[in-house]
């Protein structure tokens, strides 16, 4: 088995008695006090996540001439400096190689933030598509990242790091100095709450982690809570709801695809758009507290129509919730579905996203 990588915060997690487990090639904290307590803390106060495992690439060059403009499903060149954008890196069949965010650091500079497990492959693919491969550097090892998420995150960040943080709008970021080091503070996250992602030198990120945890309003949260938080918002998780066999159209994410520009996979998406998708993303709520889980079957009127891609018990809704891929005729709002595996069976209904609407995300 390949050896697991550790983030610079591993000793801190162990001191906090975190339950550690493998995730995307990394040894990561799954929970500290308990998944539901951490989840509620994030919805009510401010939770701190170690996200150092994610990959970061630095692009320095001419966005158009060096070819970055044509790599993703969105236009990099039209992202204003100081703003970030979410979208996809696709294969020829329009399958998702990764979902990612590009930060426009300057006219000739961008940071690409990708999933942990896909980092090496993403780097090779993006590089191979650039006209000037030398313009891209993998800065994952030297880049640390912690996310502070929750309704109290703004006041905590402002108190600690200055008033300039107060006015960062959703999906914008600033370059600033924290603890004497260069930092990027971004109004992004994946929890449905007001929150910030802080990019910070890996060799000093433990100092930042400890500083934030000194605040009694801040508690550490693991990947267990993170998964529930993102699922309550209906956000896709790479490896579950997205992979190289699933297109953005199938995944219900076509709003992050700009069909007015060139990118690998565009002809396949045009064909899918004309012919219709054989399956569609669906969101459903279970009639009980029972949790649907990845790979459970989805049935409609006794006939198998799809598969669960993500599922869990929702602490905020107190019932099972899930995402799946189904035949289009089973995806209409209100459709009754049966979710089952060889041992359990539960009744569910197709609902609108997000499951949880009480978040502070845009406040």
């Amino acid at each position: 088995m390949e050896e697991l990588k550790s983030t610079p915060l591993r000793a801190d997690h162990e001191n906090l008695k975190a339950l550690m487990a493998p995730f995307g090639g990394w040894l990561m904290p799954i929970q500290y006090s308990g998944i539901i307590a951490e989840h509620k803390w994030c919805r009510e106060k401010a939770a701190l996540f170690d996200i150092c495992h994610m990959g970061e690439f630095l692009f320095k060059g001419d966005v158009v001439a060096d070819g970055l403009e044509d790599v993703f499903t969105f236009s990099v060149n039209s992202i204003p400096v100081g703003r970030s954008r979410y979208g996809f890196l696709l294969n020829d069949a329009a399958g998702v190689i990764d979902d990612l965010i590009v930060f426009r650091l300057g006219e000739d500079e961008a940071m690409i933030v990708v999933n942990a497990a896909t980092t090496d492959n993403d780097f090779a693919v993006i590089r191979s598509r650039l006209k000037n491969p030398a313009s891209l550097t993998d800065i994952s090892a030297r880049t640390g990242k912690v996310d502070l998420q929750g309704p109290l995150s703004r006041e905590i960040m402002v108190e600690r790091f200055g008033a300039q943080i107060r006015d960062i709008p959703f999906f914008k970021f600033i370059k600033t100095s924290i603890l004497g080091s260069d930092a990027i503070v971004s109004r992004t996250g994946y929890t449905g709450e007001l929150g910030y992602e802080i990019f910070f030198p890996a060799d000093r990120v433990a100092e930042l982690w400890r500083l934030l945890l000194e605040d009694p309003r801040v508690a550490p949260a693991g990947l267990g809570a993170r998964d529930l938080l993102r699922l309550e918002m209906g956000y896709s998780l790479y490896g579950n709801d997205l992979d190289e066999t699933i297109t953005p159209l199938t995944a219900g994410l076509s709003s992050f695809v700009n069909m007015n520009k060139e990118f690998v996979g565009k002809p396949a998406l045009e064909r899918e758009s004309e012919q219709g998708s054989p399956r569609m993303k669906v969101a459903f709520k279970v009639d009980s507290r029972r949790a649907p889980r990845h790979f459970y079957q989805i049935l409609q009127g006794g006939e198998e129509v799809g598969v669960v891609t993500s599922g869990a018990f929702s602490p905020m809704l107190s019932c099972g919730i899930g995402l799946g891929l189904v035949k289009p005729e089973a995806a209409a709002l209100g459709t009754r579905l049966t979710i089952r595996n060889e041992k359990v069976e539960m009744e569910a209904q197709v609902v609108e996203l997000p499951f949880y609407t009480g978040g502070s995300l845009r406040s």
Binding site: I35, I36, A37, R293, F313, V344
Partner: protein, 123 residues
């Protein structure tokens, strides 16, 4: 009264021919936040070590096996609304069901508390 434990981390406590059944504190801790308990049907007859019901945590779904044979006569209805009672006291208020018609000889196939503690150390 004495509790007995299975290798699958259920406990059973006898009062006459009636047994109270649950999962061990160790199992509840390992599972993490319990979110759902599939209570067995009253009247169900189970054999020792057969599937009795199921329990779900945030992390996973697990089967619960009958530590002894018997007929389900009572279930802990409070777990329907508050499955977290299992986390709060797996071997007290988090009991799952009661069985009647139990053959006490079957207890010989189980571990007492001291033996179970030793067993956990070896896991």
């Amino acid at each position: 009264m004495t509790k007995f434990y299975t290798k699958e981390h259920e406990w059973v406590e006898m009062a006459g021919a009636q047994a109270t059944v649950g999962i061990s504190e160790h199992a509840a801790h390992e599972l993490g936040d319990i979110t759902y308990v599939d209570l067995p049907k009253i009247g169900k007859n189970v054999k020792q070590f057969d599937a009795l019901s199921a329990i779900e945590s945030v992390k996973a779904a697990s089967d619960i096996y009958a530590p002894v044979s018997g007929k389900v006569t009572e279930v802990n209805q409070a777990l329907d609304e508050a499955p977290e009672l299992v986390n709060q006291g797996a071997e007290s208020q988090g009991w799952i069901c009661k069985l009647e018609g139990v053959n006490e000889a079957e207890l010989g196939a189980l571990m007492d508390a001291a033996a179970y503690e030793e067993y956990l150390k070896g896991l």
